[in-house]
């Protein structure tokens, strides 16, 4: 029952890695290749770039990059890849998880602790994965008096709604799963589902503390929905579009945060409230109402809601970056070609990679900014929260909306404006 890890030895680490690679090669050679060949022989696949995928073509692809790259390019432009992997679900969850790990270490330093230390050998880098595995292995306890269909449905609906949000966020020009003309409107429409899900879940668990938490979540989200939308309104006035890609492109010379600092502040505060982060974690206030609307969650039901929260965190941070921080705008730091003088097939598009890099970096910073108030603030009280939402923030957003209108009609921004590129 030793709890302390063994001493880290680099030799052992390399040895175990080589051992792992050896077994992967053996398994791929013995089991994987025959399976691939059987599929290629017997299942008719659609032709790619005018060629039918045969075992011969597959083998030639493995050794010839000029043949491999078109296939990969074809795959990564499919909708399923975009929704499931890159601008969508996996990218969002991984970015949020990585930021949460760094935030945990940062917060630990702030509080004179060490933070996660053991999982994954290097400074507990796999702590979140370990937490997830633990949640999967836990028993799911459903209260006997609960409304069972809704109790099971709500966490799945929560994570599905959050994933739908992630599909709307562009990370580079053209890199978005669903490029809607009313993208911003769609984001707010989908965000409106979350209080409903929280209330449904708290009602379905048929318990007193979740009920109070659900009602608090409803109050809080409704109080902050309006300043949230109104703060985005001034951005729409300046950009003249609801399409998120167009909004990001509209602020090429000057980021909107220069003209709309009050809106940015309101948007930031409202995102904290939307995400139920400290100081706005009233629906989950531990010392008052146990765990709020999550009191009856256990095992993977809790895990799914946490996953949904991470996705929501990514989306709101990304939305702040797109609306106020110029989206993917940034100096070109990736070279046009990796190897000087290499004239073969073009491996990557430097503009897109650069855009993705800057977008990821800014979103990372924004997530940190959303998470860090946790270290210095206590929880706020519900009446102060409602007062802040309904009285102060709405007034502030109106001020900045009028500033935005003045900028448009004064001919400074907008079509033909002085500062427009």
């Amino acid at each position: 029952m030793a709890t302390a890890p063994k001493d880290f030895r680099f030799g052992n680490f390399v040895g175990s890695l080589i051992w792992l690679i050896f077994w992967i090669l053996i398994i791929v050679a013995l089991a994987g290749l025959p399976v691939i060949f059987i599929i290629l022989f017997y299942v008719p696949l659609p032709p790619i770039n005018g060629e039918v995928l045969t075992p011969y073509l597959f083998l030639s692809m493995v050794v010839d990059p000029t043949r491999t790259l078109p296939i990969i390019k074809f795959l990564i432009h499919t909708d399923i890849f975009r929704i499931a992997v890159f601008p969508g679900f996996t990218f969002a969850a991984l970015l949020a998880a990585a930021t949460i790990f760094i935030e945990r270490k940062f917060l630990a330093k702030m509080q004179l602790r060490v933070g996660p230390l053991y999982a994954g050998k290097i400074e507990g880098i796999l702590q979140l994965a370990a937490d997830g595995l633990k949640l999967i292995s836990k028993e799911i306890i459903v209260p006997s008096e609960a409304d069972k269909p809704i109790f099971w449905l709500a966490p799945i609906a929560f994570v599905a709604t959050a994933a739908a949000l992630a599909a709307l966020v562009p990370v580079a020009p053209g890199w978005v799963a669903a490029d809607l003309d009313v993208g911003l409107l769609a984001v707010f429409a989908i965000l409106g589902f979350f209080p409903l899900i929280a209330l449904l879940f708290s009602w379905a668990s048929n318990s007193k503390y979740p009920f109070i938490g659900g009602i608090r979540a409803l109050h809080q989200m409704i109080a902050f929905e309006i300043p949230f939308i109104l703060s985005a309104l001034s951005v729409v006035i300046l950009a003249g579009s609801l399409n998120l890609t167009d909004i990001a492109l509209a602020q090429q010379p000057f980021w909107f945060i220069l003209f709309l600092p009050i809106s940015a502040f309101v948007f930031y505060i409202s995102s904290l409230a939307e995400l139920e982060r400290i100081p706005f974690d009233l629906p989950e206030a531990e010392s008052e109402i146990v765990a709020g609307w999550l009191t009856e969650t256990s095992g993977m039901i809790y895990g799914l809601i946490q996953l949904g929260t991470y996705l929501k965190l990514y989306v709101l941070a990304a939305l702040f970056v797109i609306l106020f921080l110029g989206g993917w705008a940034g100096p070109q730091i990736f070279p046009q070609e990796i190897i000087p003088g290499y004239t073969g097939v073009k491996i990557y598009n430097p503009t897109t990679v650069n855009a993705i890099f800057w977008f990821t970096l800014k979103t990372f910073g924004m997530i940190m900014l959303i998470l860090l108030p946790r270290g210095i603030n206590p929880r706020i009280r519900i009446d102060i929260l409602l007062h802040t939402g309904w009285y102060k923030l709405i007034v502030l957003t109106f001020i900045n909306a009028f500033i935005a209108l003045a900028l448009i009609y004064g001919g400074i921004l907008g079509p033909g404006g002085v500062l427009t590129q």
């Binding site: 509080q111 503390y209 100081p279 008052e288 206590p378």
Partner: protein, 386 residues
Amino acid sequence: MANIQDRIDQSEKLSMEIVKESPDDRLMTLSVGPQHPGSGHFRFTIKLDGDYIVFCDPDPGYVHRGEEKMCEYRNFIQNIPHLERPVIHDSNNITYSYSLAVEELVGIQVPRRGQFIRAIASELNRQVYTLYWLAIYGIFLGHSTMFMWPTGDRELFIDLLDALTGARVTHAFNIPGGVRNDVPNGFKDRCLRNIAYFEKRLKEYEDIFYNNPLLRQRTEGVGILTKEDAIKLGVTGSVLRASGIPFDVRKAEPYDVYNEIDFKVQYMKTCDSFARSYVPLLDMKESCHIMRQLLDKMPDSGEVRAKLQPNPKGPPGEAYRRVESGRGALGYYIVSDGTPKAYRVKISVGSFRNILALPHLLIGAKLADMPSIYWGLNYWPVEADR
């Protein structure tokens, strides 16, 4: 309080009009504890009307261990280790007044150096307890940094007590007749160094926690316990001092060497939840001054423990002595019938007095104010149950 009565009346009137809604439908009964993250080993039932608490019924007794009865079966020295169990974080203070009372019964005088060492250990333990209390106060208000910092800085004093007594938490250091052992070499320098560092940290506590506008919004003007109510309800310790009454047993009835020490009794006149959270911090500052003076005035050599016969006993009689603990006045009333065992031991603890104010403060408060009011009362459930 009048509007609360109106509320209840109104809700009853409403229930007469609407046949379907009975008063029970309107009021929600919540059982807070003992399995609630914001209760400790304690339970109280509250009734909510919307967000307001209209009824509160404290229900202590989950950790009753019969300490008083146990005292009747052991002799005066054997009682020490089990008597410190109710507040292991303040164990030197809970055994302090017991030792004083037994010394009065048996009729022995503690050597002067022993008195100083006792007072130093008592002050160190007061810091340990108050830091622990403050940490829980921080996390009850959702401030995780204020949980980590005091629990970390507690180690400063725990290390000193470890060097002094040989144990980190349960010291069994005060015994009738003096203290168990003398201070180790270099203890004074170590003590002064830790105190100097701790005083710097206290300023940082104020910056990050007490001067935070969100905390002020939450706690100022919440749970007002007026001077008259405080006296009527019989609260003690920091709760009493937060209600504007400068009462401290160390000043009012100086025991051992406290009459030679120059210190102020810190109190606040705002009577609210913020004052109850801030007075312990002022106490910690004052305690640092007291410790410096004690270390300066302590005689360099001498006995620390009076010689006692193996099974000490005194003439039949009774004694009552109290000290200022982390939670207020902590007194022991001991009746002896002339045998080495006590006939009756009664422990009067500050926690139990303070919790009497809980229903008075919670009725009319909002649900979100419950943690700050409850833990602001400087209540230690295990001590109250004894």
